[in-house]
């Protein structure tokens, strides 16, 4: 009798479990069949009336039924929980193609990036970075660079004078003179000097009354023009690509002797001739030379013991060539649509 009852309870429980449609209903099934006042407990309570032979058999059966129901309930619970989670996840679904919340960042100015790149390259080559005043004494801007007061080359550099003796520096070369003086005649001096310079020009597509310059100076025993060529080759390859070749052409600057212009093989056409290099295969990049003995002497270095090279370049020119920028004023108009294009520069 009891046996049939247990089996029937089991069937009933299974039916309820399978029809329970939620965790709450399932919990009710659990209480109803497995609770302290549930029918199985009732069956077990009535075991006292059974014979000694029947008692363990029914007892075992009751426990089995109980376990079977519990297991079934657990299975159903897991099932329901997963189902619930699935529903929840489904409801949390977003359009992953919607834009995220970005942090807006600013841009580094292209000129700043070029200067930084040149600085980092030369730091790696053992050059320190020196800076100097933008309002400069005539002596440091001209005289100490072998440009005495009446030198005709001063024509080339019409300047913003503040007094007869003070002016907006026309190049970063005066930093050379300051740096040499600081070293009191003892080398090596190995610096690059980036900064703003000023010329009395009207602003147009190719002229700016204010622009950037980077000057380099290396003074030591036995510095040779071939070393200048080597350092400039490293520079050209770094800035314009590993395939670049350089050539030095004689030129004239009052503060160097010999003086040279450095051309690089055209990075657009590789030297075959195109519009960037005006068909020559070469692009003029910077001026350089061996430091003039007068410059060394005036800054306290003995030219019979020391030689050196110096070079000067314009970051605007480098940027304009490299990216085909048509108007130098772009660098100072600071149009964000211009600046943004060079965020990765």
């Amino acid at each position: 009798m009891l046996k049939e009852k247990l089996l029937e309870l089991r069937e009933q429980a299974f039916e309820h479990i399978s029809s329970a449609d939620g965790l709450k209903a399932l919990q009710e099934v659990h209480v109803r069949f497995l609770g302290k006042k549930g029918p199985i407990t009732e069956v077990l309570k009535g075991m006292g009336k059974l014979s000694a032979e029947e008692r363990p058999v029914i007892g075992q059966l009751a426990n089995d039924v109980r376990k079977m129901i519990a297991t079934k309930i657990e299975e159903k619970r897991t099932y329901l929980e997963n189902k619930l989670l699935e529903t929840k996840l489904e409801s949390e679904k977003v359009d992953v193609t919607l834009p995220g919340r970005k942090s807006e960042t600013g841009n580094h100015h292209l000129l700043g990036s070029i200067i930084r790149e040149v600085e980092d390259l030369f730091i790696g080559l053992g050059f320190s970075i020196e800076e100097g005043p933008e309002v400069e004494q005539d002596y440091y801007n001209f005289e100490a660079l072998n440009l005495p007061k009446d030198h005709p080359a001063r024509d080339m550099q019409d300047s913003f004078y503040i007094t007869d003796d003070l002016l907006m520096r026309t190049h970063t070369s005066p930093v050379q003179a300051h740096t040499l003086e600081k070293h009191k005649g003892v080398g090596p001096v190995k610096v690059i000097c980036p900064g703003k310079v000023y010329r009395r020009d009207n602003d147009d597509a190719t002229h700016s009354h204010q622009f950037m310059q980077i000057e380099g100076l290396y003074v030591d025993h036995n510095v040779r023009l071939s070393d200048l060529k080597g350092i400039l080759t490293v520079f050209a390859k770094h800035m314009f690509g590993a395939d670049r070749e350089i050539r030095l052409r004689p030129s004239f600057f009052p503060f160097t002797e010999p003086s040279v212009e450095m051309d690089i093989s055209c990075f657009r056409c590789g030297g075959h001739g195109c519009s960037v290099c005006k068909g020559t295969g070469w692009i003029e990049i910077l001026g350089a030379g061996m430091v003039h003995p007068n410059v060394l002497r005036m800054s306290g270095f003995d030219p019979s013991e020391y030689t050196g090279f110096a070079f000067g370049m314009g970051p605007e020119r480098i940027a304009m060539l490299k990216y085909g920028i048509e108007d130098i004023r772009n660098f100072y108009t600071d149009d964000i649509r211009f600046l943004k294009q060079f965020n990765r520069a």
Binding site: P99, R101, E104, T105, G106, N107, H108, H109, G112, E119, F122, I123, G126, F127, S128, I129, P133, E134, V135, D150, H151, P152, F160, Y161, I162, T163, G187, K196, Y198, N202, H209, Q210, Y218, D220, H221, N222, V223, R224, S226, D227, K229, G230, I231, R247, L248, P250, S251, F252, P254, E257, P258, S259, M290, P293, D334, D335, I336, R337, L339, K340
Partner: protein, 803 residues
């Protein structure tokens, strides 16, 4: 300097070297050939024709009908030139020819008369009208030319003109002989220059001319030659064509010869009409302060005591080395000529030419320097040509003051120095050989070489100049690239440079874009928005190019306003910028301003752009302030920074704070004054500027490591009701002072004004964190401190705990 390839061939053998190759070689040896001009480019079918007959056109009052012999045939050509006449030999554009401007000449009819070509003026063959002589009609050959042949070679229209960019150190190439020496060295071919031969009469020049020089140091040499019997005529065709090639307009034989010799020898010459000279005394002196001279161009020039003047002993007749005077100008009636060949001080000439804005071919040569040893030879060359082409009779001898020649400059140096400086490996023979190619004489004594430099190369004075000469002629492309072998050195950014880069990165990471603006601004803007206003006037430049760039900025902010305005005008209202750059602060009693590096920022428009989630928010005072606070946190100086309300010109009086670093004002942050915004057409805009140099000078902040806490901290919130006038920073300070040392942090998280708080009061809620690294704090301990804080706030600000 325009160099005719055909003319140059007279001095150096150019066979096998095309104009392009020559230009390349000259450029690579140091003088840039800017371009090559081919004057005959595009011309076709131009031959020499002979006008056999020339009859008036039956239906025209100015046209003529000519029968023209073209060698192989005779054709009829209608010509409108007023100077056409029978017997002339002229350039003819034949049927099918192309003349200048790619114009094709075709058989056509003029008022019913057939014409088979065109008789040409030089300008119709591409010669610049300003240079072409006799432009009142067609060009007429004045000498024997073969009829029927291609006319171009006879007009030097088969030439190539190289345009050389002459820098200060290449003045020796401002004449054809100088270029010839240069090209001879480059090509390693000899140079051939004919010495002039002068036939003199028996009459002594000294009878007609005497010279006195007052300023001998400025006039090292002055010479005069005399010619009589001159006939003013056109100069010969070959000379005219060479002048045209060099960009000089032919005028008459005397003027042309003096220009021609200047182009050939580099020696400026001047010809006076002797009969107008007014005396036989050439007196060279400085002008008086009130003296005047009317120069050849018809302009009256006011002179001063720095101008060298050629006089006849009484009045000026020429501005030395710059331009002649009108009173002694050579004209069609000139019969006697006094020829001046002199040396003047470059600087004196330069100053006069610059002051009078009167740069002439002569002055530019004197300024850059001339061959000291070619002066008398140039005068001889002119005398030779005047004899040939102006019927001149040259008087005997030269009257002169000063030294006619100077010794050659000697440089003594070890020949190996050239290898040492170039990093090359040349033999002694290669080095001396290269110098000899330049026509320098070299002698050697073992390690030492003695180089004698001709006077035409006055730019070569020191051993380094010889290094350059060898380097450029030998070719820098033959020098290997090496890396320096000297002392190895270590380099790094200075602490300041490193920190400045960090500030740049930080500004960009919080959304500001870097800009560069101009240091020079208007006088009015120069001192506005300065962090520190000074009584001294802003630093100004003496000759600004424009008002826009007349004074040095004391603040970056005005320039940033312009940048924002620019963007607003182009529909970009939401922008954020920063700049790090120098400002120039005037110093009382010193014309030199103090230079300080500042950081300035500007923000306007939306803080966050409107997106799909909803509305955007605008930037405000606290956006700007948050940026500077972020900066100070990064620099680890926040503890030393205070903010004080401040009133500044151009700033919102209620939304501007001075920034104090250890009690000293180093900057400000705030809203622009609404009036400024209106004037500039700006939206609400916020700016800051900080004298960042003082913050970065110490380099990287020291790092003070603390072991991680092993005990929990206790957090308590506190809401205080105070008068609205109480500043948050004051309350913050009192809380901190009274919570020390266990109170580790104070954070304001709510400010409330409105219901349940009196009209003149506000509630401020702070979150306080207490912590002891050694143990866990008990509630009683924390309560005690907390109460102390509350009562201090009550005492100092009348603060009440909000219930």
């Amino acid at each position: 300097m325009l160099v005719s390839y055909k003319w140059l061939k007279e001095y150096v053998d150019l066979s096998g070297v095309t104009p392009e190759q020559l230009a390349d070689k000259i450029t690579n040896a140091g003088i840039e050939v800017e371009h090559i001009n081919y004057p005959g480019e595009g011309l076709k079918g131009i031959v020499i024709g002979e006008v056999l007959t020339c009859e008036p056109h039956p239906d025209s009052d100015h046209l003529h009908v000519c029968q023209v012999n073209l060698g192989s045939e005779t054709v009829q050509i209608v010509c409108g030139a007023p100077n056409v006449a029978a017997g002339q030999k002229v350039p003819v554009a034949t049927n099918g020819a192309r003349i200048a401007g790619n114009v094709k000449i075709r058989r056509s009819k003029f008022r019913g008369v057939e014409s088979n070509g065109m008789l040409c003026a030089l300008s119709e063959l591409g010669v610049d009208k300003a240079l072409a002589p006799y432009e009142d009609g067609i060009y007429v050959f004045d000498d024997e030319v073969p009829v029927g042949e291609d006319a171009l070679p006879y007009l030097n229209l088969d030439d190539a003109i190289l345009d050389l960019d002459i820098l200060v150190n290449s003045a020796h190439c401002m004449n054809m002989i100088g270029v010839a020496y240069e090209v001879s060295a480059i090509l390693d071919r000899p140079v051939q220059i004919k010495e002039p031969v002068v036939e003199e009469t028996d009459q002594e020049t000294a009878e007609k001319v005497r010279i006195t020089v007052d300023a001998e140091d400025k006039v090292p040499y002055y010479s005069a030659r005399m010619m009589t019997g001159i006939k003013i005529l056109p100069s010969p065709r070959w000379m005219q064509l060479r002048l045209i090639a060099a960009g000089v307009r032919p005028i008459s034989n005397v003027v042309d010869i003096s220009n021609y010799v200047m182009l050939e020898y580099g020696q400026p010459l001047h010809t006076f009409d002797y009969d107008k000279f007014g005396s036989n005394h050439v007196s060279v002196r400085f002008a008086g302060d009130n003296e005047e001279l009317t120069t050849l161009d018809g302009k009256k020039r006011a002179l001063n005591a720095h101008d060298l003047l050629i006089t006849n002993g009484h009045k000026g007749v020429a501005l030395a080395g710059v331009m002649g005077g009108q009173n002694t100008e050579v004209s069609a009636s000139t019969e006697s000529v006094l020829l001046e060949a002199a040396v003047f001080d470059p600087m004196t000439i330069r100053k006069t030419a610059a002051r009078l804005s009167l740069r002439s071919d002569a002055s530019s040569r004197y300024e850059k320097g001339i061959d000291r040893n070619r002066v008398a030879r140039a005068a001889d060359r002119a005398a030779e040509l005047l004899t040939k082409f102006a019927h001149a009779r040259v008087l005997k001898g030269i009257v002169e003051k000063g030294k006619r020649t100077v010794p050659e400059h000697k440089i003594t140096m070890p020949w190996q120095k050239i290898n040492q400086v170039l990093g090359s490996d040349l033999t002694c023979e290669q080095i001396t050989g290269t110098l000899k190619r330049l026509n320098f004489s070299v002698t050697g004594e073992g390690e030492i070489m003695h180089v004698s430099v001709p006077a035409r190369r006055f730019d070569v004075t020191i051993p380094e100049d010889l290094v350059e000469e060898v380097g450029r002629i030998f070719g820098y492309n033959h020098i290997l690239a090496t890396l320096p072998e000297g002392t190895s050195s270590h380099a790094a950014l200075t602490p300041y440079q490193k920190m400045r880069r960090r500030v740049e990165l930080l500004m960009e990471s919080i959304g500001l874009s870097q800009v560069y603006t101009y240091s020079l601004t208007t006088k009015e803007n120069a001192s506005s928005y300065a962090v520190e206003t000074r009584d001294t006037a802003p630093t100004q430049v003496i000759w600004p190019m424009s008002e826009e760039h007349g004074a040095l900025r004391q603040s970056i902010v005005p320039q940033l306003l312009n940048v924002v305005q620019y963007h607003l005008n182009r529909q970009m209202p939401n922008v954020k910028f920063y700049e790090i750059g120098k400002v120039f602060l005037p110093v009382s009693g010193d014309p030199r301003p103090a230079e300080e590096e500042h950081l300035a920022g500007i923000i306007t428009g939306k803080r966050t752009e409107r997106n799909w989630e909803g509305e955007s928010t605008d930037v405000d005072f606290f956006s700007a302030k948050g940026m500077v606070e972020t900066l100070f946190d990064a620099l680890a100086v926040s503890d030393q920074i205070d903010y004080q309300p401040s009133k500044r010109e151009g700033m919102h009086p209620g939304q501007t704070a001075d920034i104090l670093f250890n009690g000293r004002v180093i900057g400000y942050v705030g809203a622009l004054h609404p009036k400024v915004q209106a004037n500039h057409g700006l939206n609400e805009t916020y700016v800051f500027e900080i004298a960042i140099e003082s913050l970065l000078r110490h380099g990287e902040p020291a790092i003070d490591y603390h072991i991680l806490p092993r005990f929990p901290s206790t957090t308590r919130d506190i809401a205080l009701v105070v008068k609205r006038t109480v500043a948050a920073s004051d309350l913050n300070r009192v809380i901190k002072e009274n919570g020390s040392p266990l109170l580790k942090s104070v954070r304001l998280f709510d400010v409330y004004e409105g219901d349940h708080v009196a009209d003149d009061e506000k509630s401020m809620a702070f979150s306080l964190v207490y912590f002891d690294p050694e143990r866990t704090l008990t509630d009683d301990e924390v309560n005690a401190i907390h109460e102390k804080i509350v009562s201090a706030c009550a005492e100092q600000f009348g603060a009440e705990l909000r219930g």
